[in-house]
């Protein structure tokens, strides 16, 4: 009994010792999302920017704040393994450009929204989920959760979940469907991505 009690006590103490570290991590993740949001809004608010420059700015934010390579692999899911090295590298490049072009257009409809950081919590071993709300005039706030992974002392976003809808899962389901309907050929997806990123 005494050994059990001692072990429990030790675990408790170790737990206490680790808590501040966790708290720091979630706090830093919040700061990271907040500063990324600020940067994005700064760009978006400059409505005088020509479309091309705006897209370039968006591309820059995306490549610095998001782990696009990891996201791309997760989106391709089980088909990543089936893809040849050549297909993989072409896919990674096309995927990033596809996302840039898809979302840059949506963000061009910016109308004074602000990002409000709510809470953050650990998720799994490596991730922090930062919950935020996009505050907009004339509408209810939009719930946005950011999945942030820390790696080599830096943070990278690996998923964005809007009102319970994950960008990664949505794209993964869509890509899987495209490939499956073409009899499992990754090339079929590449063809689509090439057309859409031209």
């Amino acid at each position: 009994m005494r050994i059990i009690a001692k072990t429990l006590f030790a675990v408790f103490i170790i737990g206490l010792a680790f808590r501040p570290a966790f708290a720091d991590e979630t706090h830093e993740a919040k700061m990271f999302v907040a500063s990324l949001g600020d940067n994005a809004i700064k760009v978006l608010a400059r409505s005088e920017l020509p479309k091309e420059e705006r897209t370039n700015e968006f591309r820059r934010i995306l490549t610095t704040g998001f782990d696009m390579h990891l996201i791309g692999r997760y989106v391709l899911g089980r088909y990543w393994r089936r893809a040849s090295p050549v297909e993989r590298s072409e896919y990674s490049a096309l995927f990033q450009e596809f996302i840039v072009l898809t979302y840059a257009n949506q963000l061009s409809q910016y109308d004074g929204q602000t990002l409000k950081i709510k809470t953050a919590r650990e998720d799994g071993e490596a991730d922090v989920i930062v919950r935020t709300e996009i505050i907009q005039a004339g509408g209810p706030p939009i719930r946005v959760d950011w999945r942030v992974r820390s790696k080599d002392e830096t943070f990278k976003i690996i998923d964005v979940v809007v009102e319970g809808i994950s960008m990664v899962i949505t794209q993964r389901d869509q890509f899987a469907s495209v490939i499956e309907r073409a009899g499992g050929k990754v090339e079929s997806l590449l063809v689509e991505l090439r057309t859409r990123t031209q």
């Binding site: 257009n105 809007v162 009102e163 389901d173």
Partner: protein, 271 residues
């Protein structure tokens, strides 16, 4: 990208109910395998048929629903549309309350009751959602969600004519909600069943009017619109079942970037 609930829904529930009763028997079998929304494969055994119904719905949307929704949005000013939707939502309160209770969610049941009492009186028969301003925010519930809370999976994906994206579970839930609705019995007794139909139609048009830009954007940015909508529908339902509190995002394993074989990727396959 705010998503409006059931963007495609408009139509009638009546004829579906018989079909759905049979479906429940099937879903009882299906539910055992699909307890977790991630069914093996794509969980869409009727994909061929579903894609066909989806195309028909899109065509009907293009020809009728969308133009009517646009007209509705042009003719009736925003405050008017807000009153319409508030009034119709208030009428749905008994069904929402029943589902709150069936889910054992007492705080939400209290909230729904308070909303109904406040909006029916101070809100002038429901045309103003004053309860929301008094700290009683609206939430949606339906029997499909209740079954989800009880642990039933979606069965399989289903595209309903007129109603749009659904599943075996949710289509059955639609039928149950219809039979739970006190308004239906009132309409039947007073021989005004057309009102029920009108209500469903207006609800559908209103929902469509609120989702015009969103759906356009989704369609424009999709490679496979059908698969995208299927994914969005499932995620949205999952989020609703958990009342917005998504327990945990799916695991994203870390990849070792220098390992070209990527055996870890095996973890990602969803079958």
């Amino acid at each position: 990208m705010p998503l409006t609930k059931s963007p495609f829904s408009i139509g009638k529930r009546f004829r579906l109910v018989g079909v759905l009763a049979v479906s429940l028997l099937l879903s009882a079998c299906a539910s055992t395998t699909a307890g977790n929304e991630e069914a093996p494969g794509n969980g869409d055994p009727l994909e061929g048929l579903n894609r066909m119904v989806f195309s028909i719905n899109l065509a009907a949307d293009f020809v009728i629903v969308r133009p009517v929704a646009e007209l509705y949005r042009t003719v009736i000013p925003a405050p008017g549309r807000k009153a319409v939707v508030a009034f119709l939502r208030n009428l749905e309160s008994p069904v929402v309350l029943a589902n709150d209770i069936l889910q054992g969610n007492i705080p939400r049941a209290g909230n729904t009751t308070a909303r109904f009492l406040i909006n029916s009186t101070l809100g002038l028969a429901g045309i103003f959602d004053v309860a929301a301003k008094m700290g009683f925010p609206r939430h949606s519930e339906d029997f499909g969600q209740t079954l989800g809370v009880w642990g039933m999976g979606e069965g399989f994906y289903l595209v309903l004519p007129a109603f749009g994206p659904s599943s075996l579970r949710d289509a059955f839930g639609l039928g149950v909600d219809y039979y739970m609705d006190p308004l239906r019995y009132w309409a039947k007794d007073t021989d005004q069943e057309r009102l029920m139909l009108a209500r469903t139609a207006v609800r559908g048009i209103d929902a469509r009017a609120r989702s015009i830009e969103t759906l356009d954007e989704i369609e424009r940015s999709s490679i496979d619109f059908y698969a995208t909508v299927r994914s969005l529908y499932r995620q949205q339902r999952q989020s609703e079942i958990h009342n917005g509190e998504v327990p945990s995002l799916p695991v994203l394993p870390d990849f070792s970037l220098d390992d070209p074989d990527d055996d870890e990727t095996a973890l990602l396959s969803d079958d």
